[in-house]
Amino acid sequence: MADGSVLVIAEPSEGQLAPVTLEVLGVGRRLATTLGVPLAVALLGQEVERQAEELIARGADRVYLLVDPRLVPYQADTWVPVLADLVRDSGATIVLLSHTQTGREYGTRLAFRLGTGIVTDCSDVQIDTDGRLLAIKPVYGGNAVAEYKLAGDGVQVASLRPKLFDPAPRLAEHQGEVVRREVQLAPEAVRTRAGARVRAAVAGPDLENAQRVVAGGRGVGGPENWHLIEELAEAIGAAVGASRAAVDAGWVPGPLQIGLTGAKISPQLYIAVGISGAVQHLAGCTGARTIVAINRDPEANIFRHAHLGVVGNLKEVLPALIRKCRELTAQ
């Protein structure tokens, strides 16, 4: 079965397909078409059969279905050996997955178990002129961009940054096959015992999934002005976030932090108030479609990344902005 295929690994998800899987599927479809090879998907879990139909309708030529109670909930000790066997048997030359908190673990373990390498957290992947994978990713907190190729001639593994790629669209009458595979797991390979995922309570709209986000930084000046951030967020139905400076100063709790070490947001609208735009912060908001910056300093780095900007004192700009937003959204 060495068919040179592109193999997408579906993110662990009970019930519906994870949105990130569709993002990786779309990228996989593009690479498979460029190379003229089949696009396959590894679908692991329980009660995932219906996801297979959806994957085929959106461009998969083949779905490997590995159904076994031992694969739920996800743990590296069960997923990695099962995936390694599948990749070896399938003859895939490229393996793609989403760089979620979970993908970062099994993707890397899988690559090393296969004796190959991985480029993690890619912002783009392409087929180079030699037919090999070219993987592109931001490094140094987004200050630089690195391009990589895999050494040797082994399987090429890359994980893609979530929420950066469009989900694979439904294709008219796309056909594909479902291949059921038996799951073989040596008991001694499973050293860990994982429990079900626990959802942490987050107040207000979930920051990472919000369509609009308003965040404040050091420029807000103190907790006594923070109500302006909250009022603006409320006026436009946005989630509230903060820069590390505002969290470190103790004005707001840690879960509100946006940045490399905090939430990664990808809203339609992001309004950054009194945030200078340190790379650590920008690493958390590059997925935003429209960035609006309000800052006193016209030289602030945030304006290099913003689409719309207001240079001014936020204590004067925000009340007028809040009033007008309330007026407009009430109409």
Partner: protein, 266 residues
């Protein structure tokens, strides 16, 4: 509980973007003059996690770092924070390695140290952001692991950890020894104490070469890489920012609201 913590020294991630320079021909970042390299942020959380486990369960903490003479400062800081011993891995053969090649040297050094219960690293380093070393160590050492980890507890010799997920966490139990990649949610790293700084000043930090670890030059560094860096550059970012022109801040606020409405963003 004997713990090995692997740390990395990186250029200070807080330097302003204007000072950030890349040598495209050499595919290297040019460190700004006068800015001291630092311990990568998540690695500080790994050190703190090790110290808290030692306070509760006893044992010894050994810190490892691969890099040139400057990493001795990072290792001394770890001792000043309370770690017991440190080893520097340095050899021309180690230069230019990727995450995997680095993990090969670290894994060999961990084996050379002898028996251990736990290996801790940061979830990822703030330079290349690969996040591969903890997973590579788990594979190379053939022991279980988890990443990114926000909580560690030892209950009757079994490790209980919480692995960070997008919407919360996943609890996992595993036997010792294990490798954990530590996330920032876990703790607030402490500052060195005066007593610690004195201890760091007196500490003997051995240097181990590839030969000391029983490794050949083609297993590590540039030759041991599994991914090849083909290009490194600073992205050209032309400002596309449309500034709202107004006579007063109030007018700017109102105009911004109208502009957002016009673009159907609110």
């Amino acid at each position: 509980m004997d713990i090995v913590v692997c740390i990395k020294q990186v250029p200070d991630p807080e330097i302003p973007p204007s000072q950030f320079k890349v040598d495209e021909a050499a595919k290297r970042v040019v460190p700004p003059p006068g800015v001291q390299p630092v311990i990568s942020t998540f690695d500080l959380h790994a050190i703190e996690a090790a110290l808290q486990l030692k306070e509760r369960h006893g044992g010894k903490i050994t810190v490892l770092s691969l890099g040139p003479a400057s990493v001795r400062d990072a290792l001394k800081r770890a001792i000043a924070m309370g770690c017991d011993a440190a080893v520097q891995l340095d050899d021309p053969a180690f230069e230019g390695g990727d995450s995997f090649a680095t993990a090969v040297a670290l894994a060999a050094a961990i084996r050379k140290l002898g028996a251990f219960d736990l290996v801790l690293t940061g979830r990822q380093a703030s330079d290349w952001d690969s996040g591969q070393v903890p997973s590579a160590l788990a594979e190379l050492l053939g022991i279980p692991g988890a990443v990114p980890v926000q909580k560690i507890e030892l209950r009757d010799g079994t490790l209980y950890v919480e692995r960070v997920t997008e919407d919360g966490y996943q609890p996992i139990e595993m036997p010792l020894p294990a490798v954990l990649g530590i996330s920032n949610e876990i703790n607030q790293p402490r500052y060195p104490t005066l007593k610690g700084i004195m201890a760091a000043g007196k500490a003997q930090i051995p240097v181990w070469s590839a030969a000391d670890l029983g490794l050949t030059p083609d297993q590590v560094g540039e030759r041991g890489r599994r991914v090849i860096l083909t290009r490194l550059y600073v992205p050209v970012r032309e400002s596309r920012c449309e500034f709202i022109e107004a006579e007063t801040p109030q007018e700017a606020g109102e105009k911004l609201a109208l502009r957002l409405r016009e673009a159907r963003l609110i």
